[in-house]
């Protein structure tokens, strides 16, 4: 495998794979790196019915198609990697992986995507799959006639709380603010459901149990009083966050939500470093917008590479 590429793309979701397809098809050497598996959050989607030209396809299949297309055009793809150090400020960009391998490139495209936010509360990782879930569709039927809690106050949390009433005998909806951040109709549906008990201004501060989750400690954020809530499960829907941990405190400018700041050419504050997809500071996050970002970032990256070559020739 080569150690120098025209472009290294970090993140193999729809934005990164699209950028790879455009770059490799233009005969520009391209390495795509991903900490998980190719496809990003797209792989998690059961059915995609709004991707133009394809009536219906699973996220798994569309991911596989995009990955194969990128490889067919000549992209090298490495998944399951961890980046331990970066130097993006030099003209020659470089990074090192946890396995000790180092790579350099003329340009970088950051397409690291996002992930479901976790509470970060003691016990959360211990009880994942043993009472704590992040997917109502997947795990709802394990909680038939059981008491559960749903954490969150956005549309997803409220909609999933209502959907979980098909299974659970009682649902405590826990939200840290004094109001929901959801559509009115979703809020009304929750409020009119007898099985749902709403606890605003509250948060979970600990998960307890042995083999399975048995209770949580809930704190009222106004009075700071804590109480134990006995239950069998907790579903957590508190939004997404950008996968930019490895960029924090480094040279790339991020906003207060740790999303990457770019201009309309999808250039970051560092020359030669572009960004695309869900990790960007932007409003809409769809597969189609990620694909668009990937295209734009790739085309401007190609333009940047050519300009750098011309500068070298002129000099």
């Amino acid at each position: 495998m080569k150690t120098h590429y025209n472009t290294i793309i970090i993140g193999a979701g729809p934005a990164g794979l699209t950028a790879g397809i455009y770059l490799a098809r233009a005969k520009s050497s391209t390495l795509i790196l991903d900490s998980g598996v190719a496809g990003g959050q797209m792989i998690l989607t059961h059915e995609i019915a709004n991707y133009p030209g394809i009536e219906s396809i699973s996220g798994y299949q569309l991911s596989s198609n995009m990955r194969n297309q990128a490889k067919k055009f000549g992209c090298d793809i490495m998944s399951g990697i961890e980046i331990v150090s970066i130097d993006f400020e030099s003209t020659l960009k470089s990074l090192t992986l946890s396995n000790g391998k180092s790579f350099s490139a003329d340009t970088i495209i950051l397409s690291t995507g996002g992930r479901s936010r976790t509470l970060g509360v003691p016990g959360e990782s211990n009880f994942k799959g043993r009472g704590i879930s992040y997917c109502a569709t997947c795990d709802g039927d394990f909680f038939q006639d059981k008491e559960i809690a749903v954490v969150g106050g956005g549309n997803t949390a409220l909609e999933e709380a209502v959907s979980l009433t098909k299974y659970a005998s009682k649902i405590t909806l826990i939200h840290q603010f004094d109001h929901f951040q959801a559509f009115k109709h979703a809020e009304e549906e929750v409020k009119s459901n007898d099985k749902i008990d709403i606890q605003l201004n509250s948060k979970i501060v600990a998960f307890n149990g042995n083999e399975k989750l048995e209770s949580v400690i809930v704190e009222n954020l106004l009075t700071h009083e804590q109480y134990e809530l006995r239950l069998d499960g907790v579903f957590i829907f508190i939004g997404y966050e950008a996968n930019t941990d490895f960029l924090r405190g480094k040279c790339i400018a991020l906003n207060e939500r740790n999303e990457i700041i770019t201009n309309e050419k999808l250039e970051t504050n560092i020359p030669g470093v572009f960004a695309a997809g869900d990790a960007l500071q932007k409003r809409f996050r769809q597969i189609t917008t990620a694909v668009s970002d990937g295209t734009i970032a790739a085309l401007y990256a190609l333009e940047y590479i050519n300009q750098q070559k011309q500068k070298t020739v002129t000099a």
């Binding site: 059961h46 699973s58 798994y60 043993r130 009472g131 879930s133 997917c135 569709t137 997947c138 083999e211």
Partner: protein
């Protein structure tokens, strides 16, 4: 009834018994095509070429035959898909519930079956 993945599939409880009796190291991911399961299948698909001493299989959770996985004592406390079970010489060596990352999976494979 099998899952639409490129992995090899466990079709029946008898098939599972045959697989674990004929292979020293077996990983079976029992789930649906949902957001917690699909990433695990993706990791398994990628690891197949690397861990050639391990037989990788998936199994449809909703098939009645999946009781062979669902009813294992090691899965008794599981309340999240997928149920992933690692068999060594026909016995359960490890089992996990819910989504697992590539590094979590390879750490179990390395520990129970040896590195690739």
């Amino acid at each position: 009834m099998v899952l639409p993945t490129p992995l090899k599939h466990v079709e029946t409880a008898d098939h599972l018994s045959k697989i674990i009796s004929e292979n020293e190291n077996v990983m079976v991911c029992c789930g649906r095509m949902g957001p917690m399961c699909v990433p695990v299948y993706g990791v398994m698909e990628e690891l197949q070429d690397e861990y050639t001493h391990v037989a990788f299989y998936d199994m449809m959770f909703d098939s009645p035959e999946a009781r062979a996985i669902r009813n294992l004592p090691e899965c008794a406390s599981f309340m999240g898909l997928p149920f992933t079970v690692y068999f060594k010489n026909g016995k359960v060596a490890a089992a996990t519930s819910s989504i697992q990352s590539r590094s979590q999976i390879t750490s179990i494979l390395d520990k129970e079956f040896g590195k690739a």
